[in-house]
């Protein structure tokens, strides 16, 4: 048993090492003073902090970073709220429109986002939401993925527990907030994370929906290192390295709320 455990540990560490290998290359590239040696294998000079300094003092990069943080946070929080409510309702409540919602979710999952962009773009321009934070946030205020994920997890909440709360006289809203939401915590955190990352990586929508550079986001900053005749590698990878940090910090913070055994001891079965 102990041998098995350490084998697992060794295999895991090996896997993680493999996953991290490209990141080594990344650090090498990001530390280069120029784009001279692009093999990504060995350091030639270490200018990582110079590079980062150069990026951060450029002026627009910090602004893009802040925008990304703001939009990704707003979107993920909104999405969690809307998806949690809808996903729970889909899984555990019977109401008119339930089938319709489920179908909508599946359609949204199956429709290529690129094709949606133009109609949404036109719609937002009609209501004057282009070039505004709300125009960058609203189209992602909910997600099929979020609703779907929450629904799948909510199906695992023992109905008996919800019944108990009903019998206890709790309103459906209270049951949702006080019973379902805490029990769905890992799922909601996951939605939060997924949506945060999706926004963190959202290149095209901020590009087309905002024509103010003040509203642009990180991926556009990264793309800006790509010129007509190639890329400024050492700077771009350094910027990418910086852009890893916020979501990573968010993730390590959220990690402590991923806990198993949330439903332990609730029902005897």
């Amino acid at each position: 048993m102990r041998i098995g455990r350490s084998l697992t540990a060794v295999a895991l560490i090996g896997f993680v090492a493999l996953m991290l290998l490209p990141l080594y290359s990344m650090v090498v590239l990001a530390s280069a003073p120029d784009d001279g040696d692009l093999s990504g294998l060995g350091f030639h000079g270490f200018a990582l902090f110079d590079n980062i300094g150069q990026i951060m003092t450029d002026g627009r990069f910090p602004r893009y970073l802040m925008n990304s943080l703001l939009i990704a946070s707003a979107v993920s929080v909104l999405d969690v709220a809307i998806s949690a409510a809808a996903g729970y309702a889909l899984a555990r409540l019977r109401f008119p429109g339930r089938a319709a919602l489920l179908n909508l979710v599946v359609v949204a999952l199956s429709l290529t986002p690129a094709i949606v962009m133009i109609p949404v773009f036109v719609m937002l321009s009609e209501i004057g939401w282009l070039n505004s934070y709300q125009g960058l946030i609203a189209p992602f205020a909910a997600s099929a993925l979020g609703v779907f994920l929450v629904r799948q997890f909510a199906l695992g909440i023992p109905v008996q527990m919800l019944h108990a709360a009903r019998v206890d006289g709790a309103s459906e809203l209270r049951i949702f907030l006080r019973i379902a939401v805490p029990l769905l915590r890992p799922a909601l955190l996951t939605v939060l994370l997924l949506q945060f990352l999706a926004q963190w990586d959202n290149l095209i929508w901020p590009l087309i929906a905002a024509s103010e550079q003040d509203l642009w986001t990180l991926p556009l900053a990264l793309s800006s290192f790509e010129g007509e005749h190639g890329i400024v590698y050492h700077l771009q990878t350094a910027a990418a390295l910086i852009s890893i940090l916020p979501p990573l910090v968010l993730f390590s913070f959220l990690q402590r709320y991923y806990v198993s055994g949330l439903t332990l001891g609730g029902v005897k079965r």
């Binding site: 019944h163 108990a164 019998v167 206890d168 006289g169 805490p182 332990l264």
Partner: protein, 378 residues
């Protein structure tokens, strides 16, 4: 509330399986009604129907005179102890207890007080901060019980609320519940497998079997005048002895023959249409080593196969002359030893007669003056 709980013409099906068809039950306002029945007979389902968490296939449920068949469980004015607890796993014991109160916007200090009181009454004071996952089985069950009691709704549904408690605690909780019922006068529907609970707690007992109520009556009615063989054998442990017999009417007596037994009963009081083929029933505690207070009794010659010593009593497994098994229950350390042969006495007043259809024809207790327990007869 003026009308307790009514279940009217309720049918419940699971797919093809009909659990009960057109069942009726009326629990009076403030009444404590105990439901007993074999495992899987539908007791929990009935509770859940009343609570509104299991839809009926057809029929009507009223609580306090109001039709609640389609009402939300929270609108029915009931509290429930779930057989499988259904605790909120993410909340502490305190949180579990407080949940219903908070939902009803009970003031904070009242909640605190009630939690303290309930925790005390249930012996959970030390566990208030723990989550269900950190509790023992019995502790969980007490939380489930506490959650229903703390709110003091008009009606309670309790599904085997004491089954996982030790005997001492169970006695205590029983007393607590009786006291609680006396105080709140709530209507209670209570499922149990424990004979003591059924006999001591219920104003009435309802025996559910195969989708219908075999009998509903006061505990002593159920015990002393079981309506069917099922009721007779289901309550009481060890179960009632049954002997197939033939009844021969004589002038003012009826002779019951069963194997080598020949027992005579006074004709008076026996139904006129007593069928010829009957079953005699008598409980293990009715088999006495000797009867010396003059009560008329029937002799029962038998050999002791083996005895079980339960401490407070002994169970003797007997075989009569034709080898039929008979169980007797005697005070501890009394009665014949293993292998010994003896003649036991079964008081006439303890006999029951059942017809071939399983329905009771006659109960010996009718012979007793007023059907009350016999007086002090030293």
């Amino acid at each position: 509330m003026t009308d307790g709980i009514r279940v009217e013409q309720v049918t419940k099906r699971y797919g093809q399986q009909v659990l009960f068809a057109d069942i009726d039950l009326h629990v009076q306002d403030g009444e404590f009604l105990v439901i007993v029945g074999p495992s899987g007979c539908g007791k929990s389902t009935l509770m859940r129907i009343v609570a509104g968490i299991e839809p009926v296939s057809s029929g009507r449920v009223t609580v306090g005179g109001r039709d609640v068949t389609h009402a939300h469980p929270g609108d029915r004015g009931i509290g429930m102890v779930f057989q499988d607890y259904a605790l909120y796993p993410h909340l502490s014991v305190e949180g579990n207890l407080a949940f219903g109160l908070r939902a009803h916007r009970v003031p904070k200090d009242v909640i605190r007080q009630r939690i303290a009181d309930t925790g005390e009454a249930l012996g959970l004071t030390d566990q208030l901060k723990k989550r269900p996952g950190q509790l023992s089985g019995g502790q969980r069950q007490r939380v489930a019980l506490g959650r229903a009691m703390i709110r003091e709704p008009a009606a309670y549904l309790m599904d085997e609320p004491l089954s996982n408690l030790d005997a001492a605690l169970r006695v205590q909780m029983r007393a607590e519940l009786i006291e609680f019922h006396r105080r709140t006068r709530g209507t209670v529907l209570y499922v149990t497998h424990d004979q003591v609970e059924a006999m001591t707690m219920g104003d009435r007992v309802a025996v559910l079997n195969e989708g219908e109520f075999a009998q509903i009556g006061t505990p002593s009615e159920i015990y002393e005048r079981p309506a069917t063989v099922f009721v007779a054998t289901f309550l009481g442990s060890p179960r009632m002895n049954l002997l197939d017999a033939t009844a021969h009417p004589y002038e003012d007596e009826v002779e019951l023959t069963s194997g080598e037994l020949k027992w005579r009963l006074p004709r008076k009081g026996l139904p006129a249409d007593l069928p010829e083929s009957v079953r005699i029933g008598f409980r293990p505690e009715s088999v006495h080593a000797r009867v010396d207070d003059g009560t008329p009794a029937c002799p029962l010659a038998a050999t002791v196969s083996y005895r079980e010593n339960l401490g407070n009593e002994s169970i003797l497994h007997l075989r009569d002359s034709t080898g039929r098994p008979i169980v007797a229950r005697l005070p501890p350390r009394t009665g014949p030893r293993d292998g010994e042969h003896a003649t036991f006495q079964v008081p006439l007043t303890d006999l029951h007669l059942f017809g071939p259809d399983g329905r009771a024809c006659w109960h010996g207790i009718e012979l007793a003056a007023d059907g009350q327990p016999l007086p002090w007869s030293a």
